[in-house]
């Protein structure tokens, strides 16, 4: 009896882990994919009908003018046999998930291993692969993130220790974030180009512009987190400002800093992509805009997914460093 119970509970534990951790994730992904596949049909129906008409199929209604004014769902129900082709059409408005996955595979693994310019045949990453373009974006993201974080921390220190900065800097920092970055990015690039800075530095500047703000806000809060009693204690030791900064304020701000850094790295990636839109010299932003110029929606979506994967990886990396750091600082596990 007890042996059977133990066996059951061992199976139960694995089953529970599957039910509690894996099932919800799979369920959400399955739901999203289902919605996506359903949405693909009306999105592509007009192009699919035109294509089918050209190939001589009988479609309802037969005239192009009638189809132009008809509702998408109505067209779908009138031509139920064309649902299949809407998931595999060449120039889809909304490509189906498997088409995006195929493009992602083709523009990474296939391009690098078999392409003429791929790393296998040429020794360097192909400028037609998402690995190359992801790398271009990643370089700008990391550089901008480092610049923005350092700037944010310095601003926070200034705000906490200098009353004039406290009163003057924060309003400007907030205003800076209310301007849409898409409007500002081309101007930043033009202004930096005129002083001889372009390419990587210009993109990193936009990344830094987006990432300094969360770091500054988080660090101001963190540096001010020690309570009055903690400050009084240091006063009883006659500690000077630099001692109270290094021994109390800075270590107390570390958890706040990491929370901000996670937001900052994601913002930094967005900044780098936006910075690549007007320049068109490589990067995921260039791929997205290029794809939209030439109606290559699969290319846009593949680049989007590449950006999402990179963002997830970067945020995970910051989180990993956070866990290591806080554990080294004696945090309760």
């Amino acid at each position: 009896m007890s042996g059977r119970m133990m066996q059951n509970s061992a199976i139960g534990r694995g089953g529970r882990w599957f039910r509690k951790a894996v099932m919800p994730v799979l369920a959400v992904i399955a739901t999203l994919l289902a919605i996506w596949y359903v949405a693909v049909v009306p999105m592509n129906i007009k192009e699919v009908l035109t294509q089918a008409e050209r190939e001589g199929a009988v479609i309802v209604p037969p005239s192009a003018a009638e189809r132009r004014d008809a509702g998408r769902w109505g067209l779908v129900f009138a031509n139920l046999d064309l649902i299949g082709p809407s998931w595999s059409t060449e120039r889809a408005r909304l490509p189906a998930p498997h088409q995006v996955a195929g493009e992602l595979w083709k523009s990474t693994w296939v391009e690098e291993t078999t392409g003429r310019r791929g790393i296998v045949q040429s020794g360097s990453f192909s400028n037609r692969s998402l690995i190359y373009h992801g790398g271009v974006t990643l370089t700008a993201t990391v550089l901008g993130f480092v610049i923005g974080s350092v700037l944010g921390i310095l601003l926070a220190v200034g705000i906490v220790y200098n009353r004039a900065m406290d009163l003057s800097v924060m309003p400007w920092a907030i205003i800076s974030q209310t301007i849409p970055i898409v409007a500002l990015a081309p101007m930043i690039i033009v202004v930096l180009y005129s002083v001889g800075l372009s390419g990587l530095v210009a993109k990193a500047a936009i990344s830094a512009y987006l990432s300094f703000f969360p770091v500054a806000v988080g660090m101001v809060k963190g540096l001010r987190s020690p309570d009055a009693m903690q400050m009084d204690l240091l006063q009883t030791y006659s500690a000077n400002k630099s001692q109270s900064f290094w021994k109390l304020r800075l270590p107390a701000s570390v958890p706040y800093l990491f929370a901000s850094l996670k937001i900052a790295i994601a913002a930094s990636l967005v900044g780098a992509i936006v910075g690549e839109l007007p320049v068109q010299r490589g990067g995921l932003g260039a791929r997205m805009l290029g794809g939209s110029y030439y109606g290559q929606t699969e290319q846009i979506w593949a680049a989007l997914f590449m950006a999402a994967v990179m963002a997830a990886g970067l945020v995970w990396l910051v989180g990993w460093i956070e866990r290591r750091t806080l554990r080294a600082m004696g945090a309760q596990p």
């Binding site: 009693m229 204690l233 009883t236 030791y237 006659s238 109390l248 600082m329 004696g330 309760q332």
Partner: protein, 274 residues
């Protein structure tokens, strides 16, 4: 005797040396609702080796008085000297160690690291720091816990660590602001006993703020009863109890008599408000 209290143990205790002298001390806070008289005409002398308790209801200025001694507040009138100096100089001369109501240990430092904090700030040598940390940890019986982080210790142990931190740099005066106020009664009894034995071994002068009558009577050689609005001293009781006392002294008639006098003093101070 531990090596870290040579200066205090070498002095002759038969001669009364004043450590704290307050003469007509007043402190008024200016607030939006008008001035608040936190302290008014306070006169008090604390001698070397005394254990003085300040007791009174909230708002009577007992904590403010302690903070004024520590130069965390500045008096608006009157004279206050600590070791013959104005409080601010005394603070810079490391005249006192201060224990707050909360242990206030840094969560990112081990117990050892927390005790090292004042020593690092005051610029002690590395070897000296190691020595002192070891000595005070033994003094508060936490030697086995030096590598632990604060969250791994009970509230009582954390408060002992914070006392060790205040003792580490050899101040002769220990200022304690309701250090056991947040602890349960069983732990508090035990820490009271330990504090008395620590006081006997180190010969420190201790100023202790509390709102517990038994705690004040049990610990003190001198009990200062205070009352609010304005914060002032209503009674100073020199305790006839022997310096060497156990917890069971709380059942003796002498103890009960002093406790009664403290209670009367508190009631008189409150006037018609109670």
């Amino acid at each position: 005797m531990d090596g870290n209290n040579v200066p205090s143990s070498s002095t002759d205790h038969s001669v009364q040396t004043p450590v704290i002298i307050a003469e007509n001390l007043s402190l008024t806070f200016q607030t939006g609702d008008g001035p608040v008289h936190a302290l008014k005409d306070v006169n008090l002398t604390v001698d070397k080796g005394d254990f003085v308790s300040f007791i009174g209801p909230s708002g009577c200025g007992k904590t403010t008085f302690l903070r004024t001694i520590a130069a965390l507040e500045a008096p608006t009138d009157g004279v206050l000297t600590v070791n013959g100096m104005v409080p601010d100089e005394a603070r810079k001369a490391r005249a006192y160690g201060y224990v707050f109501q909360a242990a206030g240990l840094y969560p990112w430092r081990t117990i050892e690291g927390n005790i090292r904090l004042p020593l690092e700030i005051m610029g002690f040598s590395r070897a000296d720091i190691e020595n002192r940390v070891r000595n005070v940890l033994e003094l508060v019986e936490l030697a086995g816990f030096k590598k632990k982080y604060p969250w791994q210790l009970s509230g009582g142990m954390q408060q002992r660590a914070s006392i060790a931190r205040a003792l580490a740099f050899d101040a002769d005066l220990l200022l304690m602001d309701e250090p056991f106020g947040a602890l349960d009664e069983i732990v508090r009894d035990r820490l009271n006993e330990e504090l008395l034995s620590l006081w006997a071994r180190t010969q420190k002068t201790i100023a202790f703020v509390t709102h517990s009558i038994p705690e004040a009577v049990y610990l003190s050689t001198k009990i200062v009863v205070m009352s609010p609005r304005p914060g002032r001293i209503t009674d100073v009781i020199e305790s006839p109890l022997p310096k060497d006392r156990g917890l069971d002294i709380r059942d003796t008639p002498e103890f009960i008599a002093i406790a009664h006098r403290v209670r009367e003093g508190l009631r008189a101070g409150h006037g018609d408000e109670v």
